[in-house]
């Protein structure tokens, strides 16, 4: 798959073997944090740098947390939910969809948006409405088709 050197830890002779313990975070099983196919974190402090930590590992951990909110790799299993915020209850806003809000926003929005083009609408609709009426009568009365229509 990938030729990332870190994978060779778990791949001996092409067979996926038991993972070793992570020295930095002993209670944390590397394989569950990085499902197969993903590159593993660098092994030595030399491979590990700020770039890896902030650009790759932190976003990945956040993504992992959203998938599996019950477990956090950076906390020991016994400690439980330290460091985890229950985002579902904290961010979910209290929407207040009631009649007053709907009516007021629709009214305000309509008056604003219509107000933007009010003169245009009045000018066009009212003037052209009157003109349309006049022209229709003119056209109809001067049109020979109308005169040749048989009486019903």
């Amino acid at each position: 798959m990938t030729s990332f050197p870190g994978r060779s830890r778990f791949l001996q002779a092409g067979v996926l073997c038991q993972p070793t313990t992570n020295r930095l975070c002993p209670w944390f099983n590397n394989t569950s944090f990085f499902p197969s196919g993903l590159p593993l974190p660098p092994r030595s402090p030399h491979e590990q740098g700020r770039l890896w930590g902030y650009l790759i590992a932190v976003p990945r951990q956040l993504r992992y947390r959203t998938y599996f909110p019950d477990s956090s790799p950076w906390s020991a299993p016994g400690i439980g939910a330290i460091g985890q915020l229950n985002l579902a209850s904290a961010i979910m806003p209290t929407l207040a969809v009631n009649d007053f809000n709907i009516v007021v926003s629709v009214l305000g929005g309509w008056v604003s948006l219509f107000g933007l083009v009010s003169y245009l609408c009045k000018e066009n609709f009212y003037l052209s409405e009157a003109r349309m009426f006049v022209t229709t009568i003119d056209d109809l009365s001067s049109r020979p088709v109308l005169l040749t229509l048989p009486p019903s």
């Binding site: 904290a90 007053f100 009214l107 305000g108 008056v111 604003s112 083009v117």
Partner: protein, 447 residues
Amino acid sequence: MISLLAGVIFSPAAANFVRPLDYAGSEENLNAVTLYFSRLVLGVQLVLAGVQLPSRYLKHEWRPLSVLLGPIMTMMWLATSLLVWALVPHMGILHALVIGSCVTPTDPVLSNVIVKGKFADHNVPKDLQQIIIAESGANDGLGYPFLFLALYLIKYIGDGGATQPGGARTAMGMWFGETWGYTILLSVVYGAVVGWVAKELLHWAEQRKFVDRESFLVFALSLALFITGTCGLIGSDDVLACFIAGNAFTWDDWFRLQTLDDSLQPTIDMLLNVAIFMWFGAVCPWSEFLNNDVVPLYRLVILGVLVLLFRRLPWLLAVKGFIPQLRDLRQAIFMGFFGPVGVSAIFYLYITLEFLETLNVDGAPRSDVAHLGETVKVVVWFIAICSIVRAFCPSFTVMNRAANGNIGCAWSEHPSRKTRLVSPADLVQRPAVSIRQRRPLSALRYR
């Protein structure tokens, strides 16, 4: 004050012409109607207040405003809470903090009454008027953090976590996340974006002559309605959003100068004020001031007087040096003494009652907050009534002039005195150009 009296006269207590409880059907509906009415009035008033402030006011005056909105508001909150805690019997400190936060914001409606009109124009300098309007507008929406700090603590640790597990940590998380992040930050961003977009749209339409005069004038009002509605829909702080939007809407001063000599906005202003104070007069629980089982009347009176004296005055005197608009002691006394409590307090009162409803266990109030609703209602209404009466009372003139040191004479009649009608800041002509017309930075090099 007059319309409050009229409301009382027409209310069920007296003439029985206006019967709010009958119209609303039930007590809950009546609370909801009062809450929505005050929300509507606050929203419209705050957009108008934001519109009336000069160009980029919040940016120019961020220093005194942050003093007024940070330490001063906190001290007002704590002072009122301590007074309530001391004077109302059987009162927990958290419950006192709820009441204190309800009356913390100064009211834009009553502030408008104080700093506008002929008397104010003669006695209050222009920049002092503006900072009072800006403060009352901004701190209206900022009462949320104070209120919900106390409310969340009550919710999660008020009864020892029996009904709402989570403890103080959840309460703090909710406070930071929901109140600061969702309510305050989101509403500021939303108001700024909507105000800015509205300004650009109106510019665009006006340049193409698409807008007729009536729609142009009413645009700020419809913007207020729109923001009140949409911000209410997403459950954010519509009051703050309205103020920010009003400021963003006239960030380049264009709309303000266009509508400066127009009387539509003051007319709407007046109409809303009269209506809401009549409604307040009609729905105010007058009889509960006398007959309630939480606090006797004499304590309420003492509390009202002490709150009016110590809620704001000492703290404003303390920070007088940080606010350049306060040129001398008299102006600090003026600003400190007239920090009215009014529509916004009633607004927060009904928000509190609505929140307490959600704590009910099996349809009955939770044991530790069983009396909180009634206490908050009585105390906040009483303080608000005291403040309304004081804001309008005729001795206002006399006291202000006494504070001036020359009883019977307004400042304008003493040009020799130290105070000035027109501040030096007003004499400086600020260029009213829009951002687009500003000279490029490269022009500086050749000067």
